[in-house]
Amino acid sequence: MKRWHGWVTPTWSLLLAVLLLGPALGSGYLLTYDMVWVPDLAMRPDFWGLGSGLPRAVPSDAVVAVVDEVVPGWLLQKAVLLASLVVGGLGAARWLPPESLSGRLVAVSIYQWNPLVTERLAIGHWPVLVGYAVLPWLALAARRWRRDGGGLPLLLVLVPLGSLSVSAGLATALTLLAFGWRGRSRGDAALGGLLVAGNAPWLVTGLLHTGDATTDRAGAALFALSGSGALPAPLAALGLGGSWNAEVVLPSREGPLSWVALGLVTAAVWGGWRAWSASADRRDLVAFGLCWTFGLGAALLTWAAPDLVAWAGATLPGAGVLRDGARSLVLCAPLLAVLAGHGAAEAVRRLPGDGAPRLVAAGVLVVLPVTVLPDAAWGLGGRLRPADFPADYVAAQESVATAVADGQKGDVLLLPLASYRQPEWNHHRKVLDPLGRFLSPDFVASDELVVSGVAVAGEDPRVARVAAGLALPDAAARARALAAEGIGLVVVDETAPGSSPLPAGRTLLDAGELRVLALDGVRERRIPTGWYAAAVLAWAAYGGALAGGLVSAGLARRRRRAAPASRGTGL
């Protein structure tokens, strides 16, 4: 293998990632649907999972709040997005032999440039993308663990990192078990312990909310796997597409290019299977197959049996996590990329001669994922444009901080009581109301989702009680009801659609776009001591695994570097 070969794959991966993100890497904050990043995310009890609602952003919010003490929020966001793509692509490439440059490059292209990545990016599911980037590396590390018991430091880092959200944690868990299970009690117990530690924050704090962990039946049909244009849902899923939200699906997925893409994927996978299956480790094939089957099966279930998914979500606590069908396709991507890489390498190898035909064929195969999804380029065709928070946000932040410093008690309520905003300053792009994360205290915001005119009820009982309080006929009664719910500050976005029946309170700020009101007689929300104890244990397990992994990986690296020198001195 030529020395420069080692640089080609990372360079291609970085180039693709930059081409995909484009303007998102520019100045400002990328705010799109569920992706909310702010300059300095302040830590608060909700981020530990101690809020009144389900811990949906646990542990991702807490991890960001800790890390952005060192790295500014804007820089951290870009680093996370860029690294998610590059690390994932390089991980997929690692499953192909180093001498198979064309195969590695195709694996990178497939893993980084596909509908799953573009749709999750557009809808802002960045913890899913981080988990997605972790999967191929996790599979490699778990395989090593299975074979010789090595790779534990890497697993200790990868499992917590790949479990930044519930769905990412489940994909991580399945991949770890599929590739790492040895069938021997001690090793498998260690694996199980690692799984529990890596997922402990959302698992434990989720159990604290078991009574409210069921979901509205209406969501199952709305969030189910969906077809893309003329492609029916099952075929869309085979090519890693099928998001429920038509707004995040690129136009090229709705035309003939989606059929071309499906044909190419099928050919590549078929070729890859024929080229690789004979020489591959049987156990790896089983692990890949298990992940692929489970990922596709979970996605198809939401499409084929939405009533069953609705029943499960409404009856079994936590089962609602399965309702976004296309999200589970992350489990299918590693096998797809690895097979496509092997298929491409075999196709190039079979060409006569070793000059221009092979070079051109390799180039064509590497670029084809871009050819069939061209509008993903440059920030999904300009959809991913960062924005700067307006001055009113800073004024509201200062107003709230001053009030809290002066002894104002209670949490913040965001009005109008609606989940999403589409502010002019964000280029009219939809985003989960970013105001709560911009401020420092815990906040209460709507958790109701409206999709195609259908309202999907949230799970947080506190939001329902706050809404009932806001519906009272006079402002003084509204203020008393909110104060009894632990609301001390109300921040009103005057630019957002929807009515805001205001409570009686002291106006702290009236900045045009935002108003801040303070309420008196606040009865602070009490968090049971047992919840604190449970959360401390969960976070200790999570942080311990991560810190232990980082330290032991650092020590192992140091030992490896020192080893040749020791040999050289005869020690």
Partner: protein, 51 residues
């Protein structure tokens, strides 16, 4: 003769794919992006649109 033909063929295929890729990428940048425009009169901002 065979190698000349395969070289020529590969260059033609490569050229077609390269052209299609560049044209696709460039035209997707010049056409308006397809997400829903803001409507200040709607009572609530929807999370999305399901088919």
């Amino acid at each position: 003769m065979g190698s000349i033909l395969s070289t020529f063929g590969s260059l033609v295929v490569g050229g077609i794919v390269a052209t299609a890729t560049i044209v696709g990428v460039v035209s997707s940048q010049t056409s308006p992006s397809g997400d829903s425009p803001a409507n200040v009169n709607q009572p609530v901002i929807e999370y999305g649109t399901s088919d």
